[in-house]
């Protein structure tokens, strides 16, 4: 188990494995998304309250879920990098941030588009989940800004890991304080629980699974770039690039 782990954590081995693994995550992911989207758009009957507008949840919920998961991955791998000084972990953290920010933006945008026909407004300040998601987007921006402001990669890795860890404690507090704040102002809730049929739920779960696999493939691709850049002065990169068959 541990030798396997150490082998995977070695940059050249990871670089090769990720290239093989990435399409094997992307293809089933895309297939699941295609099937889930078809189900969600055409097959599943419409919601009796929201009509066909509820079909937006098939992209909104997976995005919102991934926005949190990416932050978790970012903070956890940052912590692993800090504690066990694992270089690969920092590359994972650096790669998760832009994808996480993209999905957070997507969750906000689709939530806002859903809000237009449902609430009659593009943006509802009183909704606690929209607020938490917006603050999460700001956390991502802060993280990426700190990373790009520090020139030294090793220093940027450690500093941003500390920030991500402080942020993850805060995400919980943000969630509860925003819930409390919204309960004071009679905020509206986007998606009520327990109003979904089994058929709707299955399609949504398929979508979430597909998005997760796709996210994995996107993450692996970005980590490869990050590893290549960080290892640019090492021998294995030199041998790979100058070899007659070439690398990728």
């Amino acid at each position: 188990m541990w030798t396997w782990f150490h082998k995977l954590a070695s940059p050249p081995h990871f670089y090769r494995t990720a290239a093989i693994l990435s399409p094997w995550l992307a293809m089933p992911g895309l297939a699941l998304i295609a099937w889930g989207a078809w189900q969600g758009l055409f097959v599943v009957p419409m919601d009796y309250q929201q009509g066909d507008a509820f079909r937006i949840i098939y992209v909104h919920v997976p995005s919102a879920y991934l926005s949190l998961m990416a932050y978790m991955i970012m903070a956890t791998s940052g912590a692993i990098g800090l504690i066990w000084r694992m270089k690969l972990a920092h590359a994972v953290a650096a790669s998760a941030a832009p994808i996480g920010a993209a999905f957070t933006f997507l969750a906000l945008a689709t939530g806002s588009i859903w809000g237009r026909p449902m609430w009659g407004t593009w943006w509802e300040w009183g909704d606690p989940r929209m607020m938490s998601e917006l603050i999460l987007l700001f956390l991502y921006f802060g993280y990426m800004a700190l990373r790009s402001a520090i020139d030294d990669t090793a220093k940027a890795d450690k500093a941003s890991a500390v920030l991500a860890l402080v942020g993850i404690v805060n995400v919980v507090i943000v969630h509860f304080s925003v819930e409390w704040w919204s309960s004071l102002h009679q905020g509206q809730t986007v998606f009520k629980k327990g109003t979904m049929d089994a058929e709707m739920k299955t399609a949504l779960l398929i979508m979430i699974l597909g998005f997760t696999l796709l996210f994995g493939a996107m993450l692996l691709r970005r980590i490869r770039t990050e590893v290549l850049y960080r290892e640019r002065r090492t021998r294995w990169v030199r041998e790979m690039i100058l070899s007659p068959e070439g690398g990728s």
Binding site: A37, L41, F42, M46, G51, D52, A53, R55, I56, Y58, V59, H60, S63, P98, I99, A102, F105, L106, A109, T110, I113, W114, R116, P117, L214, M218, R221, R222, R224, T225, L228, Y229, R232, V237, R238, I241, L242, G247, S248
Partner: protein, 53 residues
């Protein structure tokens, strides 16, 4: 056509799915370009080093 109109909500539903596609594709495209640029930069530097030797 009724399936696409979604009871008047078609524009909202389709723009959400479209936006998701656009953002995922854009992110992947940016990642690919970045990878190629990093790879080429290293290649150029290594080739220059080799020529000097």
């Amino acid at each position: 056509m009724d399936g696409l109109a979604m009871g008047g909500y078609g524009a909202y539903v389709w723009s959400c799915f479209g936006l998701t596609l656009v953002i995922v594709v854009f992110s992947e495209w940016r990642a690919r370009i970045k990878h190629k640029r990093v790879y080429r930069d290293i290649e150029v530097r290594l080739k220059a080093l080799e020529d000097r030797e």
